[in-house]
Symmetry: D2
Subunit: 344 residues, 4 copies
């Protein structure tokens, strides 16, 4: 089969002919129909220090996809060839404390398909049955391939109460944009989108954020104070990972509010804990991945009920062979979610 391969410890990838992977008795071989690109893939492509420390090439990246079951191992009972599926790519160990008390999303021995083993930027990918998510064939292929980041957004939004609450989304990359849609679908009373990149602000408008603000040019705190009756937002979803975004996010949070932190800051960040968390009586939740598998049920229910219009986030469709061009688009800041069609 054809695959995008990180061939060694250096930037770039190659398209190569590789064998179709073999699968074990509890595993499923999926023919990839659609995949999408995550910021993590850019780190892998660029071979940054994180990639250097984590990856062991050669490796096929890719952890957002959908496809059709081609073959199943002999112990597999819940799917069969022809089923339309996606997958949770965090493979939890099932044996650590966290796995056994319902926190498998922070498993101590997690392995990520597409990072720690071969992923979905190929004609076929192998997934353990436990991680397969069977989909309604009526679900649009493009939505089916972005469930991983949509799950991040659903996990962030639903990590506390959201109905009838005002919410600020700080940072409008794909997950932030998804979070706008999810918050609105789940009854948020007002959604503020904060973003310095103009293209992303346009997308935030397209996602129907109630207020779209540019922290680089507007006094965002003053605007939020004014429009919330001097109170601040009930909920802050930090999706920028930028120190300024984090500090601004805490500043606009109301006393007694709650925060989901999802954006990954590259370095330690200095925060005024006394003013921003302690005296505020705030609740702050770290968000990692998606809950296995409560978030998946929630996603499926929201998608099935037609409450989520995600199309504006998908800015580009490319053949997988143009992967390098996709990398350029993402780094230019002009793309949000890029859907890849498979290699032939």
């Amino acid at each position: 089969m054809q695959a995008i391969v990180k061939t060694g410890a250096h930037p770039g990838v190659e398209i190569r002919e590789v064998p179709v992977p073999s699968y074990g008795p509890s595993e499923v071989l999926v023919k990839v129909e659609s995949a999408s690109v995550c910021g993590t893939d850019v780190h892998i492509y660029d071979w940054d220090p994180w990639a250097e420390g984590r990856l062991r090439p050669p490796l096929i990246p890719g952890h957002e996809f959908c496809g059709t079951v081609a073959k199943v191992g002999e112990d597999v009972t819940t799917v069969r060839p022809g089923d339309f599926v996606s997958a949770e790519m965090h493979v939890a160990c099932g044996k650590c404390l966290q796995c056994r008390i319902g926190q498998a999303h922070v498993c101590q021995n997690v392995r990520i398909i597409g990072v720690d083993s071969n992923g979905a930027f190929a004609n076929y990918v192998v997934i353990p049955e436990s991680n397969i998510w069977k989909l309604d064939p009526a679900l649009p292929r493009e939505y089916a391939s972005i469930l991983d980041p949509l799950g991040n957004a659903v996990h962030s939004v639903l990590a506390g109460e959201i109905a009838a609450r005002s919410v600020a989304v700080v940072g409008c990359g794909p997950i932030g944009l998804f979070a706008i849609a999810v918050a609105r679908a789940c009854g948020a009373s007002a959604v503020y989108a904060l973003e310095v990149n103009e293209h992303r602000r346009d997308l935030a408008h397209a996602m129907h954020a109630d207020f779209v603000l540019d922290p680089a040019r507007e006094d965002v705190a003053a605007e939020i104070v004014k429009t919330t009756g001097g109170i601040g937002v009930d909920v802050m979803l930090e999706m920028s990972g930028h120190p300024d975004g984090m500090r601004l996010g805490f500043e606009i949070l109301r006393t007694g509010g709650r925060v989901s932190l999802l954006g990954i800051p590259a370095e330690p960040v200095e925060i005024d804990f006394a003013r921003d968390i302690i005296f505020k009586g705030a609740t702050v939740v770290g968000i990692n991945g998606r809950k296995m598998y409560e978030t998946w049920f929630q996603m499926e229910a929201l998608l099935r009920s037609g409450k989520l219009d995600l199309l504006p986030v998908i800015t580009h469709r490319l053949p997988m062979a143009e992967f390098a061009h996709g990398m350029d688009l993402l780094k230019s800041g002009e793309a949000s979610k890029i859907i890849l069609t498979p290699l032939d």
Copy 2:
């Protein structure tokens, strides 16, 4: 002023000229602009055993209303004449255990305006400042007068998780109909409305319930099993108070689901606790009134964001002088929420 008065321990009411009530230093005199009728008012009108045991005539009933502040006591600081307001009519003592730990909605010494003291079916009503709810003047008068029952619905829906959950509303009186709208606005993935009365089923359709079922003629349990993939509904909101409704509601609840009980059964009810609650690992919450004042903030936020279309529930508008006709309409089953315009 003119008022509807329960003059003695017998059925019926009279329209009488009575003095405008006096108000204390912490109280607010409100000119009533719009009021609405509750099932409780029918009990009072008919002088049923509950009314006999609770009321001390003469009394002006009426506990759903909105109006304009006419006068305020000397210690009142949060509203002033001209403000558009409604009110929480459960006056909590503020001193019992429940009041002091955030459960004022089940205050041990509650007094209900319109039941235990003179209410809003009059030109003026007196409300303690603590219970006044100041409204955006842009809110439609008709919505402003139904916040009490809307609050019951919001409290019921938001007593547990609702986003991305399927929900059955058992009994489609006004609160059940409101609950359909609230559940949809807060991200319920599918709303089943169960109701034996045809007129109410029509209203459930108008509220955009996804499934409207008649337990008297359809195999509701089979239908729900089929459409939920054999699982049952995640959430059941019991709003009928009828033993058959309660039993059906528990039957269709999925294992591990949650229940809000709001409808008041007239008698003890026999339930199969082993099958329906214990083996199911269900969570059942009794709903009384509205949370003071979290529910009010939630209602306001949902209304302000335009997420609730409640108009179909308001089936009739009558001059308050036609109160007796309103009683007939309600008892006929052909009315849902009746809005009364004030006596002149």
Copy 3:
């Protein structure tokens, strides 16, 4: 090996020589060191209608035990021969909705070892690796064999807040007695034990309940009203399954309180839902089994820290060969927990 066998569809059991069971690649063969008897075993022994409907003889009962790992299947990684273990005997499917969202204790396809397949009243029992619970070898054997019912108690007590709360335990069978110890260890401010059987009341005293009351002879409600300042108990743990116990339990619950229902009523029960749940704003949780595996971690932590003195509950030790005598003791009401030493 020797085993206690339900040989057919009739009362009684036989001690028989049977083959040591074979085990699969993911299974563990455990040499039983100690077992204990549950009320369920009495139902099986007596062959009541529930047993008639559920069991398929021949069957070895027994689902409370501890022992030493004898052999492990080739895929087993978390235990090895010689390890001291107990086990969760509810084998969840891992594939239903409930299993996948953290509610495996109410799995829709559960199989119970000792009920649906051969259990621990034998020299050896086979357990899936997923269900094995490895124990500190320092844990007393007698405690190690009663983790199943202790887990019911822990699940019941910790299904809501317990610290600084008054709690009533209604029904003082073994699980009720364990619940007294767990509630005290977790900071309950006062524990009321309600029980009609004198022997069990003596045991409740031995477990250091603060108040031990006999509903058959005392005005329990009046006593609780008096000693709680007129408020009622914050938490009610229903462990009798008796209609009178349930009704009394709801009566003594304070407004805004919470209930765990664990005792299994044999028939539907009539409850005054309006007074006891709805107007009270009560929260009622059905308790089934133990959370997999959060409850097990909690048990282990409480036992390891020495906070639980469970010895009074263990009223009898018998050789397994005297099983029938154990049945008689349990039915007489004079035994609480009976520990069985293995057949030779």
Copy 4:
């Protein structure tokens, strides 16, 4: 009466003869029987920048006390002369969003008696009836005067699950020491006390912490990794406010754990949010004051049930006239809680 008075914008206090304060219709005049000293009082005594920015001398400080009701205003109904009382010294406005949704402990308009108006270091203090906490006369006077900081500890410990959880208390000032007692009483399975001051470590031992560690001389993280089976602590209570303490606290927290932040850092603190909160999926709660009044009921229940031995924390008893000596003791690090007997 005699009082300790901050006479002007400079360090130190004076003992002065001042008039007994007058009280309004909803206020209570309390004769102080016992008071205690808080770190805040040291800031006021030393006239540090915080004090400079907040206080308006002349002012009588003191916000931890107990006493006997001397007089009550005409509208007071819940206490009468002779009652033994303490008080919540945060006077909430009752009208802001936070007050109305059960978050009065973070009221936007709070006034603190002893900081913003005259406090309890005097023969008499005036308290609004709403803030009076009536005590059982059997409660030891010394405990009765330290309910304010005990409440901080109870709020911190009970801001999430504690039963059967391991917990680290970072910083063993009085509130940290109280937290050890509260965590143990509420079922914590192991309590780690981390403290660099030797005297405070001795007190942590006296409070029966399971492990007392000195971060300045021991590899605390290694010790906790070892004794928790490589997992870390389930709960971290940050009570030092020191950047090193905070960073160490987050380091030893297990993945999926929870944190209460109570210690007030003087400056912004740099934290590795990615490693310590986001990837850990941690929940962090800012703790301010005590919940009004749920925490007070919890404290009372724990004290009444005899579960808290707080005596070791009370290291000194002084006549109030020796206030300056008390300040020296506190600053030396050799005192924990100092109880003051009133001026005569």
